[in-house]
Symmetry: C2
Subunit: 491 residues, 2 copies
């Protein structure tokens, strides 16, 4: 018997008041609380039915499961949200101006949180597989920001999920809060932290028992565009390895999540020339586990095990094998500039659009509608030894060019972007002046339908270190808004 | 007698051929070679008079003295330049498209250099105060990139400047080239490197003797606008210290160079409530030495001692006093993300313009004409514990607003900017959504002449997480180009 009160989800939700600052553990759907958020959404709906206000401020590790952002969002129970989301419904409320959303580098988030810029944390809802009477918690399939949440929250509600009984031992919880101390990590596989999280047991309000999988969905099959991008990326990595620019031992790669990443992993899987490597990043997805199992990936570090249930079962069945090859760390550690710099990572991330000078928009469609958020893209791109951005050259059946004269929103500047890849080809921008970069991006990455337009822009642009004509810089967007097709831009 | 040939500047310049990749030591005018670049400019002019081509690729630590960028630039001897410049003539050639210029984060520069993205270094010209027969060099008033230049250059030419006989002992040369090792710095005053630089003596082609000061000019007197900005900054720092958000011990501040920084230093000098602090940055200027001498600054670390000659004389007269309070490090160390993060710096940097959402342009006037370069602004802003950007709210007698709807060039994104300060006031953007940021910047930082226009922009901007109307986003620049005054923008 646990020392903490056993609660139903509904009882637990009663502890969360209107206007509370709530934080939820997890990172992606992995490790997210599953039943308390649902009960909280119902609680909010009851308040609203009685014409009483009920909206909370919500912070999480990253994106969440549907119970957190979906149910709470649709119940109109979220007034404020940080630092990352990827929910279709919540996104709409954010873009409609109904929810205030603060999107920022994941590596800076804990720092702002500790300094109180989001307010005092009222309640942390954390999924655990085990908890002892004296407050020693075993997290489940993600770490994310759970340690900093627990340390700074006034109260903690636990969901003890017996589905993940075998997860104990996969965590490496190092505390980066203390300044002035070098992080003692020399290799990404070094274990430098603890396997469990110590919290003040007096903070724990109670425990809700669950037995539920994370419900991670598999990626859709890769398209030929994704495969072409992956092909260019792998060819390029092999060239860089051959000429000795990439360190072959140890080669460490950061992989953002998504379909293109999936295609890259598949391509590596079929490419015998690609040496073994390690993975250090935020999210460990099925494709990484597949290569890890084959021995192609030697070690994988992430903040979440965002894998489908069949893969999770395989991990739990061979826990000893995977415990020697896999660690889950706080996102403050995976995304820490010091750590990323030291590992000399190759960072592979997706982008929404780039401009011809190498600036990257990874968050806002047409400069206004947020998709997800910057997440760790800035942390990795800025500090990696080699920073690669991948995107299809067009969207909406060719009506949108992903390569534009001037990005409608900039998350990563020209200074942080080494290489841009589309299905058309690859532009290596390192050591190049703006003029050289523009020609390189247009020639190698732009879709043939848009090359003449981009060259025309460059011709009409005035002289200057960076050639721009600000009256025409956004002509692509203007054409899309007026005609539904960027190819109608007049330049 | 030295083991190395004693050369005249003209003889030394003969070693540098057309199309060579030349690197010059120094950081700002401090520590720059003084006579070989001048002789090289004359050599180039002789070639040009004979209708022969003579243009080199030039890399430096940062900006230079007039002998390097000025004389070589005006002699049309520079074809390619990186990573930072601040010379009026060279800037014009860059903006006219005559010189290819690559502007990038100083912390990433050595990495690109080692990987060969600027080509193989033919000759390094390095100013030293001493050199031994076995290649032990004592640098002068700057370190900059001299260590990586010497390690990677095929040949080295030395200017031995006896003016700086007393500089020996101020340097701390730690080598960050080896990866996978934590930098063992715990406090900014820790000495972790060597006082001298070891180079392969076989690389040294010869030594040119000189006896010349750096010729650093004093700053112009502060204007009332600079003083108002400085006042807001110091008031804010004191508020943050009072509420416990800034660590008082040890408080470490990074100060970019320039008139506003100078005003901040003056303001701190007259403000008794401001606690003692340390300085960690690129450039140590007169104002820092003044507070260091008074004991208000406890320790100062920089990559250059960019002080006027009277201050340099004071340092050399009391060398023991200053050697206990001052260190010169490679810019790769001063700007290293790991170091900046660990010191939890307060970063104070100047900006050219910011937009209402918190993006900063620190390099390109009207999006096209480069001023200097990003230098270390991105290194410090991105990794500091608190990142502050300072700028006057208007330029050109009010005809230009420095606060615009959409920056014409973005060097630091909304994710890297915590606080914006103008003479009008201060906007703390931490933890704020885009809408909240826009209102905060307009209300606190914009000049009254421009507030109605900025509010009008926000009203016409569509809904969305970030409210923009891309057809009007650059209306301020359009008005300036057509009427010479941004106040005529129609919104």
């Amino acid at each position: 018997m646990s020392a903490f009160p056993k609660l139903t989800a509904e009882e637990a939700a009663e502890y969360i008041s209107n206007d509370a600052l709530l934080v939820c553990g997890g990172f992606t759907a992995a490790g997210c609380p599953k039943v308390i958020p649902l009960a909280l959404a119902k609680r909010a709906e009851r308040f609203h039915a009685d014409r009483k206000p009920f909206r909370i401020k919500l912070l999480t590790g990253a994106s969440t499961n549907d119970a957190v952002d979906g149910e709470l969002g649709r119940a109109r129970a979220i007034a404020f949200r940080a630092p990352y989301q990827a929910d279709r419904d919540l996104r709409k409320f954010i873009n409609d101006g109904d929810v205030d959303y603060v999107d920022g580098h994941l590596s800076r988030y804990a720092h702002l949180l500790r300094q109180g810029f989001f307010g005092d944390i009222d309640v942390a809802v954390i999924e655990v597989s085990h908890c002892t009477d004296d407050g020693e918690l075993t997290l489940t399939t993600a770490v994310g920001s759970a340690p900093v949440f627990c340390r700074n929250a006034k109260y903690i509600l636990l969901e003890r999920n017996t589905y993940h009984e075998k997860i104990a031992g996969f965590h490496d919880l190092y505390d980066v809060e203390l300044n002035h101390v070098p992080i003692p990590l020399r290799s990404l596989s070094d274990r430098i932290g603890t396997k469990t999280l110590r919290v003040d047991p007096k903070k724990i309000l109670g425990v809700v028992e669950t037995h539920l999988p994370d419900g991670i969905e598999a990626f859709k099959p890769c398209t030929s565009v994704h495969e072409a991008i992956a092909g260019h990326v792998v060819d390029f990595l092999l060239r860089e390895i051959r000429r000795g620019v990439l360190p072959v031992t140890p080669l460490a790669i950061e992989l953002g999540t998504g379909n293109i990443t999936n295609a890259v992993l598949k391509h590596i899987g079929t490419c015998e020339e690609m040496p073994k490597f390690s993975v250090h990043g935020e999210v460990l997805q099925d494709g990484i586990l597949e290569l890890l199992t084959q021995g192609r990936i030697e070690f994988a570090v992430g903040s979440s095990l965002t894998v489908t249930d069949p893969w999770l079962q395989k991990i739990y069945e061979r826990e000893d094998f995977y415990k020697e090859r896999l660690l889950l760390r706080p996102s403050e550690m995976t995304n820490h500039p010091e750590v990323i710099q030291r590992l000399n990572l190759v960072a592979l991330n997706a982008a929404l659009e780039t401009d011809i000078f190498g600036n990257v928009n990874s968050t806002h469609v047409m400069g206004t509608s947020v998709m997800n958020g910057i997440g760790g893209a800035g942390d990795f791109a800025r500090n990696a030894g080699l920073s690669i951005f991948m995107l299809p050259s067009t969207a909406k059946d060719g009506k949108i060019s992903s390569i534009v004269p001037f990005c409608s929103h900039i998350d990563l500047t020209e200074h942080d972007v080494d290489v841009i890849v589309t299905e058309q080809g690859l532009a290596d921008l390192r050591g190049k002046s703006p003029e050289q970069r523009a020609l390189c991006v247009i020639e190698n990455c732009a879709h043939p339908d848009y090359k003449p337009l981009l060259y025309a822009y460059l011709r009409r642009a005035k002289s200057g270190h960076i050639r721009h004509d600000l009256t025409a810089a956004f002509a692509f967007y203007d054409a899309y808004e007026k005609t539904g097709d960027m190819r109608n831009a007049r330049l």
